[in-house]
Every structure is written in structure tokens, then in C-alpha cells.
């Protein structure tokens, strides 16, 4: 579904992605972790070309993202992206937020989109919040609206960029629960997160990045109990002891 071959990216002099080779299959759930500045956000932002890559090939759903001729609208419609800061449109209700892209990009009819939007908001536990504005919702609720907004496009892939990092602790679980259900339904997901409980429960593989490189990829069991690299051990000792 997603294949990186020798992908390199620079921000000016900073080499943020170094020779990335990675393949994520359909239906797979992969968790990406690593210290801040390691390039994990950049890695997933390249997948829907929120960032350009300078070298290598990145094939998503059979399309070469790097190729300028590729129809990015079509590709992006297939990829849901969830941001750390939710990024809801504050002048629209929850329902208006989730049906904007379906009606404008997918050209879905208004009443059909309306029905889909209500169903999807219900699915993330916000059936009673359709007419609320983002400012009237808690952080956890806003992030669930953002997930519903992604799902309304019926995407093949969902990307999550630290979806719970901006949330108060008591709101993290309601968002993770939605994500766990999504994973169990067979969605292809790449999740940048430090929620190791979530990684243990649903990830097929965990990817650890440092300084723009993939240091280690392993199934959760192996990743937590016998990490191969010293760097991974150090990282795990820091985030798991508390």
C-alpha cells in the first residue's frame, strides 16, 4: 500500500530523512516512535505530500507521490490525515467540518453527505454534537471530530501525527478507543505516537526512528522485550520507566 525506496529529504542543510526504505501493507497498523526531531512527523507528511521529497521513490496506492504529474487531489482523498492540533475549521459546526471535503472533493450530494456525516460522528461517539462548533467541544471531542472528518472521505489509509499529544490526560483514552476500533476494522494506519499501550494492543510493527533514519522495525513483543539497538533500549528506558 505504501512503499518508500531510498527516500531522502532535507530542510536546508538538515538531512531529515536518510535513505528510508519501508513497506506498509494494506490493513497493517504501524506505530512510529522516536525522539523529537527524529523525522517521524516528516515521514508521514511525505505520504500525502504535505512535504516534498528530494530523492527516491514513494509509492502510495500504486501512485508515485514524487511524480509531479500525479493527481494529488485524488491521492489525498484516499488518505486521511489527523493532526496533533486537530485543525478543525472554527467557523463550521462539527457536521459542516466533516462533510466539507466529501461534498467539494468527492462531489457527494448534500443530503447523502449529511447522512454520512451524522453516521460517522455517531461512530466516534459524538452523535449529539453534530451542531456544536469546535470552540464548544473539549480537546478529545475535537480530535474525534477530526478523525470523523478523515473517515467521511472513506479513505484507504489513515495517518496520525501525534493525535493525543495535545490532549489533557483524561481525554487521551476516548481518542485512542476510536483508533483501536478503526484498527480492528482493518484500516491501514500509520500512527506517530508515544502511547505504548496503544502500540502494544494494535500495532503489527513498531518503527523506531532517530536522526532521520529507521533504527529498528519490529513487532511489539520483540520491540519491547528484546530491542536490537542500543539507541532503542535507551529510548525505551526513558519513556517506559515512569
Amino acid at each position: 500500500m505504501i512503499t518508500f525506496s531510498n527516500v531522502n529529504k532535507w530542510f536546508g542543510d538538515l538531512h531529515v530523512l536518510r535513505d528510508i526504505n519501508l513497506s506498509v501493507g494494506a490493513g497493517e497498523v504501524m506505530v512510529v516512535c522516536g525522539p523529537s526531531g527524529s523525522g517521524k512527523s516528516t515521514l508521514i507528511r511525505c505520504i500525502n505530500r504535505l512535504e516534498q521529497i528530494e530523492e527516491g521513490d514513494l509509492i502510495v496506492d500504486g501512485m508515485n507521490v514524487h511524480d509531479r504529474k500525479v493527481n494529488m487531489t485524488q491521492l489525498r482523498a484516499e488518505i486521511g490525515f489527523i493532526f496533533q492540533q486537530f485543525n478543525l475549521y472554527p467557523h463550521m459546526t462539527a457536521l459542516e467540518n466533516v462533510i466539507l471535503a466529501p461534498t467539494k472533493v468527492r462531489k457527494m450530494k448534500k443530503d447523502e453527505a449529511d447522512k454520512l456525516g451524522r453516521e460517522t460522528l455517531k461512530r466516534v461517539g459524538l452523535g449529539d454534537k453534530v451542531d456544536s462548533y469546535p470552540a464548544q467541544l473539549s480537546g478529545g471531542q475535537q480530535q474525534r471530530v477530526a478523525i470523523a472528518r478523515g473517515l467521511c472521505m472513506r479513505p484507504k489509509i489513515m495517518l496520525f501525527d501525534e493525535p493525543t499529544s495535545a490532549l489533557d490526560p483524561e481525554m487521551i483514552n476516548e481518542v485512542l478507543e476510536v483508533m483501536v476500533n478503526l484498527a480492528k476494522e482493518g484500516m491501514t494506519m500509520i500512527v506517530v505516537t508515544h502511547e505504548m499501550g496503544f502500540a502494544r494492543e494494535v500495532a503489527e510493527r513498531i518503527l523506531f526512528m532517530d536522526e532521520g533514519q529507521i533504527v529498528e522495525i519490529a513487532p511489539p513483543e520483540e520491540f519491547f522485550t528484546k530491542p536490537k539497538s542500543e539507541r532503542t533500549k535507551l529510548f525505551l528506558s526513558k519513556i517506559l520507566t515512569h
Binding site: M72, Y89, H91, L100, Q136
Partner: protein, 222 residues
């Protein structure tokens, strides 16, 4: 003092004032519409990806904002004809007001657009919305709320600036005051009446502005 203030002469000159009042209204009305158009286009150019296009808009905005309006009016009125470009006084006046106010409006609109957090634009990009769809559905509805009051403020400035057009012999409100003063030697009567008419325009625009503030800006608590 009041014994010497001559109301009768003001009444006598009322037809002239009304004529000039309507001239001020249509000159600034035309200038306002022109400035909104020029400002929108200049702002779009300023924000363009193309460096050249952005630079052209930047030079226009900066050169207008860094020079006095009166010098600009004189340039258009005396300078352009000397280069062989001739317009009537009214057209020259509207042209000067439009270009002057357009530069300020471009910056107001730019501030409004740039006040929209970048994350929302990325969210739009990520869901496949085109540049124009993002402008239409995400950026402009919010930018309008932020910019409408400063734009109306700039509109009020434009109306007051139109008094400078009296210096290129356009018949407008300030010119009416000058005429009364020079014909009857009554500057107090002449310019107070002029000021009173500007006050009327000001209150109309201010009333519109408060109405907009109550009605159009965000439906939700922000």
C-alpha cells in the same frame, strides 16, 4: 460670538453644499469600490508563489504607503498630463483615491488571510481541497470577519482624504467651504458646514460598521 455667526449665509449656500455633498459621496463611493478591487488583486498578487508577481505588488503597496496622498494626487494631476496621459479631474481624483486606499486595503486583507492558522490550510490540503476551495470555504469566510471592520475604517479615511481633491479644483465638500469663504469671507461658517456634512457620512459608515459587527461576524462564541 453667536451673533456674528451667520446662519442665513449657510442656508443661502445649501444648494452648493448639497451638490458638493453628492460629489463627495460618489467620488468616495467609486474610490471605495475601486480600492476594494485593487486591494484584493494586489493582496492576491502579494501572496503569490511567483516572486516576480509578489514583487510587483510589493513595490506598488510600499511606494503608495511611503508617500503622501497629496503628492500622489499632484503627480496624477500634473505629472501624467506632462507625460501625455490626460484624464478629467474626476477620473484623476477617483484614480488617486483608488490606488492610495487600495494599497492599504491590500495590507488589511493580507493580515486577515494570514491570521488563519496554517494548520487549517494544511487540513484543507490533506483532504484534497483545491486552492480556490480552501480560499472559498476555509480562509475567506474567516478572514472577512477579521477584516471587515478595518476595511470600513479605511473607507472612512478614504472619505476624509477625498477633501484633498479640492486642491485639483474638483467640486466637493471642502471646495464648497473654500468657495463660501472666498466669496463672503466667512471661513467659520464655510468650513463648519463642510465638517458637518463629513460628520453625516462618518456616522452612516460607523452605523453600518456596528451593524456588520453585530450581524455578520462569527455566529459562534470564539
Amino acid at each position: 460670538m453667536l451673533e456674528t455667526f451667520n446662519f442665513r449665509v449657510i442656508l443661502e449656500y445649501m444648494p452648493l453644499y448639497f451638490k458638493c455633498f453628492s460629489a463627495t459621496l460618489w467620488l468616495s463611493g467609486a474610490g471605495l469600490i475601486g480600492a476594494l478591487l485593487v486591494g484584493t488583486v494586489a493582496c492576491a498578487m502579494r501572496l503569490s508563489q511567483s516572486r516576480i508577481v509578489s514583487l510587483i505588488a510589493g513595490v506598488y503597496i510600499e511606494s503608495i504607503r511611503s508617500t503622501p496622498l497629496l503628492a500622489q494626487i499632484y503627480f496624477f494631476y500634473f505629472g501624467l498630463p506632462s507625460l501625455g496621459i490626460m484624464f478629467s479631474e474626476e477620473v484623476t481624483g477617483i484614480f488617486a483615491l483608488t490606488l492610495n486606499s487600495g494599497a492599504y486595503m491590500a495590507e488589511i486583507i493580507r493580515a486577515g488571510i494570514q491570521s488563519i492558522p496554517h494548520g487549517q490550510i494544511e487540513a484543507g490540503i490533506a483532504s484534497g481541497l483545491s486552492y480556490f476551495q480552501r480560499m472559498r470555504y476555509i480562509i475567506l469566510p474567516q478572514a472577512l470577519g477579521v477584516t471587515i471592520l478595518p476595511l470600513l475604517g479605511q473607507g472612512i479615511v478614504l472619505v476624509k482624504d477625498s477633501s484633498l481633491l479640492s486642491l485639483i479644483s474638483i467640486m466637493e465638500l471642502t471646495r464648497a467651504g473654500q468657495i463660501l469663504t472666498s466669496e463672503r469671507f466667512m471661513p467659520a461658517e464655510g468650513f463648519l458646514t463642510t465638517a458637518a456634512f463629513y460628520l453625516i457620512i462618518y456616522y452612516i459608515l460607523k452605523g453600518f460598521s456596528s451593524w456588520v459587527q453585530k450581524r455578520l461576524i462569527f455566529r459562534e462564541a470564539y
